[in-house]
């Protein structure tokens, strides 16, 4: 009974992610098919990868005839941030969660699912995670297939507006705690400034993409952890 309730709660929390994914994956499916990838392969990539930037880069490499090694290294670098997210999540899921459920749940670690998980109060059960992951996977795969079939249905104005939806969710996760806690505000502002710096400062521009995010995350979280160690009770808020 408790499991069912948590599963439904997860479904509800996954719905906004699913809607955001529909529009992004729509664009992915459209581009992949126009570039010459069979529709089924585009759908398979979305279903089996469940990533944005990682699979976009991988798809481009496949189309350009890249080697498996190139594809593996590119995917690794762009997606390495999931390692940190998964590590953070390992402390947030119920400690008693059995290995097989951990293996299943970890498939669904995306930026957005991670963001929603970390904002959920209390430990995360497998039922809740399963519910939250289900609709986004369906939305991501379905959106890819629809986008690949309908090569230009979405008016530009609308797709531009939808393009900001997922970032809006990130902001909804980071702003309220930053308002309440100085250390979180420090982390958010510092990481944002570093990321802007990496993008526009000429001599470190090469760090953009996968590595940049990872280095910033480790650096900023590390400094924040040393400056503002979190006492166990405060974390439970």
């Amino acid at each position: 009974m408790r499991e069912k309730k948590e599963f439904i709660e997860g479904l509800k929390d996954g719905l906004p992610i699913c809607l955001g994914y529909l529009s992004v994956s729509f664009a992915y499916g459209m581009r992949a098919v126009l570039a010459g990838l069979p529709l089924g392969v585009a759908g398979l990539i979305s279903l089996s990868n469940l990533t944005s930037a990682g699979q976009f880069a991988g798809t481009n490499l496949i189309l350009a005839g890249g080697t498996c090694l190139e594809i593996a290294v590119t995917t690794l670098v762009i997606n390495l941030r999931y390692f940190l997210m998964s590590l953070s999540l390992s402390q947030k899921v119920e400690e008693k969660m059995p290995l097989r459920k951990r293996l299943a749940v970890s498939f669904g670690v995306t930026d957005e699912i991670f963001a929603v998980s970390m904002q959920h109060p209390g430990p995360l059960s497998a039922a809740y995670m399963a519910g939250m992951i289900l609709l986004p996977v369906a939305g991501w795969t379905g959106g890819t297939l629809i986008g690949g079939m309908a090569t230009n249905l979405l008016p530009e104005r609308l797709s531009g507006a939808l393009g900001i939806a997922l970032y809006g969710m990130f902001i909804a996760v980071i702003v309220p705690p930053a308002r309440k806690s100085r250390p979180v505000l420090f982390t958010v502002v510092f990481a944002g400034l570093c990321s802007i710096g990496i993008r526009y400062l000429p001599w470190i521009k090469e760090l953009s993409g996968g590595w940049g995010i990872i280095i910033i995350t480790i650096l900023v979280s590390g400094i924040a952890a040393v400056l503002f160690p979190v006492k166990a009770e405060r974390e439970e808020e």
Partner: protein
């Protein structure tokens, strides 16, 4: 297009991505007691999400001006404690309205 090569490539992408996600979750099954490591992991979401949002959000709509309007709307809604869906839809609506003006 050589379908075997394509399917192997897709398998490589999926395999690498899954391993990255699965290893920490499967390997770290106990509560970490070290305060610095716990604190580090506590700050990871805020650092990673902020670094991913800025400055990319300004390129998310195809126009820096409409994206800026959307960003301000999102921050304001989040500041007033609105939920994920409200913030996401509000930011999209703000971008749409701004694109009618600019």
């Amino acid at each position: 297009m050589d379908m075997t090569r394509v399917l192997i490539s897709v398998g490589v992408m999926a395999g690498v991505t899954y391993l990255i996600r699965m290893l920490p979750m499967a390997a770290v099954r106990k509560r970490i007691e070290n305060v610095t490591v716990r604190s580090f992991l506590y700050y990871v979401p805020y650092a990673v999400l902020s670094a991913m949002t800025f400055p990319d959000i300004l390129e998310a709509t195809g126009s820096a001006a409409t994206a800026a309007v959307g960003t301000i709307a999102a921050v304001a809604l989040a500041f007033w404690g609105k939920g994920l869906l409200t913030v996401a839809v509000g930011a999209s609506a703000a971008v749409y309205l701004a694109s009618l003006l600019f």
